[in-house]
């Protein structure tokens, strides 16, 4: 069983919903990321989603676009991100780490070279926003060879008959995109999310995590009431950016993100199981 599947099984046994924080690797500073990952685990993160910065992040809203730009300005590449995961693994061999990014850096490295390097670094799964099932066969073959999970998105616009096509090739968990839009958008509709999760669960027994538009304890609590996991990204990245913009240093930025994450953890745990 993969580290990711194992983690969801443990959580299910304990009646706990997964909290999956996202950060852009190398934002706001290179040396923040690994300490931040550890701090997030201490604050209640169950799985870490690490954003691989890209020059053209087409699915990101304004907050994460700036995060990607800052990380690139700090010199972060896919190789740097893998080094960060290696560093994280020196102290934490339990928490699953998922890389989220765009196709081209992985394509450029080569699927086989990426799979080898990522597995060696201790990466558990890959989510590439712009590699849908139609294009995934060659990358999936390499990920399976090294025992990594490939995380697929299901969207509100995904037709019912297509959901099965996706769940048939997915492993680890299904990532449901809660809204039509980019990351950080603010029009979450819980009833609509619950309806779509029902459609997914008719096709698959994989856990379903929900992301896009979850920004605080209240929205996280609402999502945790219907999903197996909650992904929070833009709100955390924004909290750090605001702390820096207010004149704070990296410590202050981390503290802001961790404080928000702890509130979100409490919100999720307040859902009666």
């Amino acid at each position: 069983m993969s580290r990711l599947a194992g983690r969801f099984q443990q959580l299910a046994e304990r009646g706990r919903k997964a909290l999956i924080p996202y950060m852009v690797a190398g934002d706001p500073a290179l040396d923040v990321t690994v300490p931040l990952m550890h701090a997030m685990v201490r604050a209640g993160a169950d799985i870490i989603e690490l954003g691989v910065p890209f020059s053209d992040p087409m699915s990101e809203g304004p907050v994460l676009q700036l995060g990607h730009e800052r990380a690139l300005a700090n010199g972060v590449s896919l190789r740097t991100v893998l080094q960060m995961v290696s560093e994280f693994r020196k102290e934490d061999t339990d928490t699953p780490v998922l890389l989220m990014g765009y196709a081209n850096p992985v394509v450029h490295m080569g699927y086989a070279a990426f799979a080898n390097a990522a597995a060696a670094a201790g990466v558990d799964a890959l989510l590439t926003v712009d590699i849908p099932p139609e294009e995934v066969a060659p990358v999936n073959a390499e990920l399976q060879r090294v025992g990594m999970d490939n995380i697929f998105l299901v969207a509100p616009t995904t037709p019912t008959q297509r959901i099965k096509r996706i769940t048939d090739i997915a492993s680890g968990f299904i990532y449901y995109v809660s809204l039509k839009g980019v990351t950080g958008a603010g029009h979450l509709d819980i009833e609509d999310v619950a309806y779509h999760l029902g459609l997914i669960r008719e096709q698959s027994s994989l856990p379903v995590a929900v992301g896009f538009g979850i920004k605080d304890a209240a929205s996280a609590r609402a999502i945790a009431g219907v999903a197996d996991g909650v992904v929070v990204g833009s709100a955390l990245v924004d909290a750090m950016a605001c702390a820096i913009n207010a004149g704070g240093d990296s410590e202050k930025a981390m503290a802001a993100a961790i404080s928000l994450l702890a509130e979100i953890r409490q919100g999720i745990d307040s859902v009666p199981s």
């Binding site: 020059s55 294009e135 039509k180």
Partner: protein, 406 residues
């Protein structure tokens, strides 16, 4: 003399998955996949519907003003002293460039799909103007995404779009040029996919766009082929067109692909020169990768990040290229070459002074290469250059380079 393209390998691309060899495909977020499938289904149905074709043909004839002339630039040809050069006058189309051939077609698709709002990305502003124009005519709401840098250097086209009732949204992310405008248009489409039709301006983007934009632009080559036969009694020896995303080039080339004796040259923007690294020539100096929904040649760094590009012409300032061009490069059917900024500017001035035709800076790249090519050919030979747009929009850029203040 007529070869049926349907009997050649060139008619078999893209395949059912939208691939041209290993290029193309649909590399987009899941949210857009059903919209692309719907668009493809509607297009495949309408493209063989005689009523739709009639509507399109009538728009091209009476609104765009087609066919555009194939004009022999006798004085320019004589001054070079080589091949006869003919110009396919896309600059004479309504709105002043080839872009309108495609926007007329896609807007008809939007109308048939019942979408009340259209969006577009634009670099030089020609595609934005062509989209705003057809949106005005059909009463569609129109928003155009344009890099802040391009808004500055193409102020005239920005104002034209506003006069036509479109809203121009300056894009401040990334390099603030065409690629960033395309990112922002994709973000808008993913948010408003229910009521919005995204009119992509070039033969890039996810399948089915590279196919349908090509099909709408092929009117250029179909006319040029017929006109060359009528006016010279034979097929041309060479075709020359500039390549940014590559829509005017594919439009000219495609109907000739099966004509083995016709050589083809796609001219990329060499900027300050390939060695300077400040250019926009992915086919000449790039490597394959994935951007904006398709696999194609890109300008990218060692980590797979997309590089900033440079060209004096905003319409060529793009780090990728349509996937069909990548395939045509690899199979060796089309030669991809470059013309630098200064060569294009010289050609701009030459054509203006010698033929009384002011070309767009984009098209000036094709003219610059055609001049070199013609000089190596004989007076019995024929070159067709796609004069893809007129140069009015570039007057400020040229004046600035020449040190002239208005």
């Amino acid at each position: 003399m007529t070869i049926d393209l349907k009997q050649t390998p060139f008619a078999s691309v893209p395949d059912a998955d939208g691939r041209f060899g290993v290029y193309g495909g649909k590399y987009v977020a899941e949210t857009l996949m059903s919209a692309l499938a719907e668009l493809e289904a509607v297009y495949r149905k309408l493209s063989v519907d005689p009523a739709f074709q009639k509507e399109l043909d009538e728009d091209l004839a009476h609104y765009v003003g087609r066919p555009s002339p194939l004009y022999e630039a006798k004085r320019w040809s004589a001054s070079i002293g080589g091949a006869r050069i003919f110009l396919k006058r896309e600059d004479l189309n309504h709105t002043g460039a080839h872009k309108v051939n495609n926007t007329v077609g896609q807007a008809l698709l939007a109308k048939h799909m019942g979408k009340p709002r259209v969006i577009a990305e634009t670099g030089a502003g020609q595609h934005g103007v062509a989209t705003a124009t057809i949106a005005a005519r059909l009463g569609l709401k129109c928003q155009v995404f344009m890099g802040e840098e391009d808004v500055r250097r193409q102020a005239l086209n920005v104002y034209r779009m506003k006069l036509l009732g479109a809203e121009v949204l300056p894009v401040t992310s990334g390099s603030r040029t065409l690629k960033d405008a395309m990112n922002e248009a994709m973000r808008d489409w993913v948010t408003n996919v229910d009521d919005t039709f995204y009119i992509i301006g070039t033969v890039a983007g996810p399948h089915p766009y590279p196919m349908l934009v090509r099909d709408f632009q092929c009117v250029i080559g179909r006319e040029a082929r017929r006109q060359a036969l009528d006016q010279t009694g034979r097929l041309p020896d060479a075709l020359v067109a500039c390549v940014g995303g590559g829509s005017n080039a594919i439009g000219l080339f495609h109907p000739f692909l099966a004509d083995e004796g016709v050589a083809m040259y796609g001219v990329e923007a060499g900027g300050h020169g390939i060695a300077s690294n400040q250019h926009a020539a992915p086919l000449t100096a790039g490597t394959p990768g994935v951007l904006h929904g398709n696999r194609t040649y890109l300008m990218q760094d060692a980590d797979g990040q997309i590089m900033h590009t440079h060209s004096v012409s905003a319409g060529l300032d793009y780090p990728g290229v349509g996937p069909e061009h990548s395939w045509l490069k690899d199979i060796g059917r089309v030669n991809y070459v470059v013309a630098n900024d200064d060569e294009a500017l010289r050609a701009f001035h030459t054509l203006t002074r010698v033929e009384g035709i002011m070309p767009a800076l984009e098209s000036s790249h094709a003219l610059a290469y055609a001049e070199k090519l013609a000089a190596q050919m004989s007076p019995e030979q024929v070159i067709v250059v796609n004069l893809s747009g007129r140069g009015d929009k570039d007057i400020h850029t040229v004046a600035q380079i020449d040190g002239i203040q208005f």
